[in-house]
Amino acid sequence: MAMLEVRHLKKIYTARFGGSRVEALRNVCFSVEKGEYTAIMGESGSGKTTLLNILAALDKPTAGEVILEGRDVTKIPERELAQFRRSRLGFVFQEFNLLDTFSLRDNIFLPLVLAGTPYREMERRLSGLAERLGIDELLNKYPYEVSGGQKQRAAVARAVITEPELLLADEPTGALDSRSSDSLLELFGVLNDCGQTILMVTHSVKAASQARRVLFIKDGEVFHQLYRGKDRPEQFFGKISDTLTMIASGGGRYA
């Protein structure tokens, strides 16, 4: 059975006084298997961010369900939500979202502290992870003292230190230069090889070409999907580009 199942997701934004209605998601269905590395692509306004917010339980859909490990995320009561988010999901954001008030170490510890993990256990989890992410030298620095790439690595550490079932990434390379992007994507690949399930929303063809599968969203629906299969990323890159061109030129639909 799939680890994550998204069924007939629909989201309509209504202006406050019942004015205009905007349909951000019309009918989104897809599923993600355990250990998969999936990218979601689409133009601005295609509903990518809305989708991710709903998957992250930050927003409620108008209709449809999101089943994570057999549980409907959209029906989790408000008071359990935060706990659910921090124990089952990991987040990597475009803007890093690290807190300037904390050193990198404390930023990474944040979800564990919120969960009430003992200090020794936090240290144990961090020691291996920091080395793997190449930030063990930087742990005592503050976010404003390190580069964007280093910040994003710390953000990844924060996302995976809780050992989440699903890692959600929202344009993770969006604010990075190309070298930092490459090394971050490489890192995602390594995490995925270790069994981490990853769902990434991105604009970047290069980022998407690292994934095993790419879903294309257009006008609030899954329009198309590509599997990488045995392709090398460079080859996959070309296929993705072609697909995007086709979507942009309004070509026919085949899925």
Binding site: R79, A82, R86, N97, T101, D106, F109, L114, G116, Y119
Partner: protein, 666 residues
Amino acid sequence: MRRGLLFYPKMAAANIQKNGRMYLPYILTCVVTAAMYLMISALAENPGLSQVLGSDTVSYTLGLASGVTALFAAVFLFYTNSFLLKRRKKEFALYNILGMEKRHLCRVLFCETVDVAFITLAAGLLAGFLLNRLLFLLILKILGVQGPLSAVVPGRAVFNTCVLFLVIFLFIFLNSVRQISFKSPAELMREERAGEREPKTRRLLALLGLLLLGAGYYMAVTIKNPVAAVAMFFAAVLLVILGTYCLFTAGSIALLKLLRRKKGYYYQSNHFVSVSGMLYRMKQNAVGLANICVLSTMVLVMLSSCFCLYGGIKDIIALRHPRQIMISAGEPADGEEAIIHERADALLSENGLTASEPLSYHYLSFAAVKRENSLELGSTESIMDMNRLAQVYVLTLEDYNRVTGEDASLKDGEILLWEKGGIPSSVTLSGREYAVKDEAEDILEEIGISFGGAENLLAVVKDEAVLNEWDSLQAAAYGENASARSYVYGFDTDAGPEKEQSLREALYHSLAANPTDGGAGLSLTVECRADGELSSKSLFGGLFFIGIFLGLLFVMATVLIIYYKQISEGYEDKERYEILKKVGMSGREVRRSIHSQILTVFFLPLLGAVLHTAFAFPFVTRVLTAFGMTNVRLFAACTAGTIGVFALFYLLVYRLTARAYYRIVR
């Protein structure tokens, strides 16, 4: 390039509007501060003030209070403005990059400052006028009396306010220019986040703060003499205020860093976010907290002593007027005592009254510096001497025995002595040694010649010859400033207050008027308790009024600072809490963490204020004795009550502003 004449003013106005969210609390702060200063200044310049107490003490103190308020206004406005400026540096950098020169920026800044100054003065003066009216109405209603003070705002107060605030704004403008013109756009861009760096621990400053505070506390606790206490009061207050500022700025950071090092404490969900949050903004926070602490202390000390004085009026009157009628004559001539008694008896029987509880005695009083077991006459120079200054009251054995009803006896060279904290075995006065035969009863308050004011000593000498001898000794030592011997005669009657007052007038006429008018032509004073009650009530009513007025004003300032802090920090924290929520903090956890943070930040100053008040307690007790208030228990009760009510009020303000804060970050 030529621009229209109104280009910069328009741009300035637009800037203020655009940054309304930040500017509104700032302008509000300016307006309220201006209104506050106007009110204090108006009170200090109030023409009715000289009637209160009939001396310059009150207006001097109020002048000082308005000086402190001016200083406070300057510090506070600078602090709020620097905060504002920091947040706008990016905006200025952008203008700079987009092609405005530094001098154009300065022009915009100038126009903005003029706008704010104009709004501040216009709204501040108006608000000051109205609030002044309101406060007067309110307090007079509470007191239920029509005091000598009325709600006028003298032109001089308006002038002072305008000058002060224009000067403050000028300096604020110059400071902004300094901050902007010497930096490149890139530096300015970076600087918006620069303040968010973790503050360094400044050990030296923390140590200095501890020392200053310690010195202030030490003075408050060790200076026993009321004369010295009054003289050193402001020095001690200054030390404590400076110490508070140093400690809050440096000490709080040191404390928070210590907390952070304790892993078991720090890595708990409710401490984690709050400790780091506080540490992060302590630099800007500390001044605000120190302000709150100092203001709260002022409110507490002022209100508690005022309530105490007002509540202790009865005690004070009883001390000043041990009998209904008190006649005291300085340097009585031979036979003068007999005339006083005769005329008093005659007047009483004329009015169908009889004297009861008669009290009569001669006494001599002079100041002396007390060492081990000698009394030194002469002028005092050092503060240490001032701390040893004692007022010596001398009675003859005959008078003493009559007043106390005892039957003590003395040989040549022997005296009875009373002083606080036990008596020595002998006393030397100008080289002559007197053996202290026994401890005298403490009758000074009972017979109404002293009600505190200095460390008192009562000496009972063998007879009039010794009294005369002591008199000539002090007369020789003090020359022109020597004090005179006095004769006191007091008695009670069963007359009501009005009859008592007319009796006093008749007595005074009969004794002091010229012989041609049927008087005895003596130089003396006649006091009655009914008059004393009236004048005390008006004096203490006036003081009480001023105390409450200033107290309410300072409370207002405290609320303002608290509110400003909450609002400005709310906007700052909004982003942080959004991130925290995304990472998996629930609404409840957010609220709990906010609670824990605000609670610590808020109750630190209150704690500091209570501590200050506790240390000020012995000090203020001594100052109060100068007003004739010696009831320490009453003062303790007033202080405890004031602290309790203030803490409740503080809690209320905290809850209201915490809600405002929460609404912003949610």
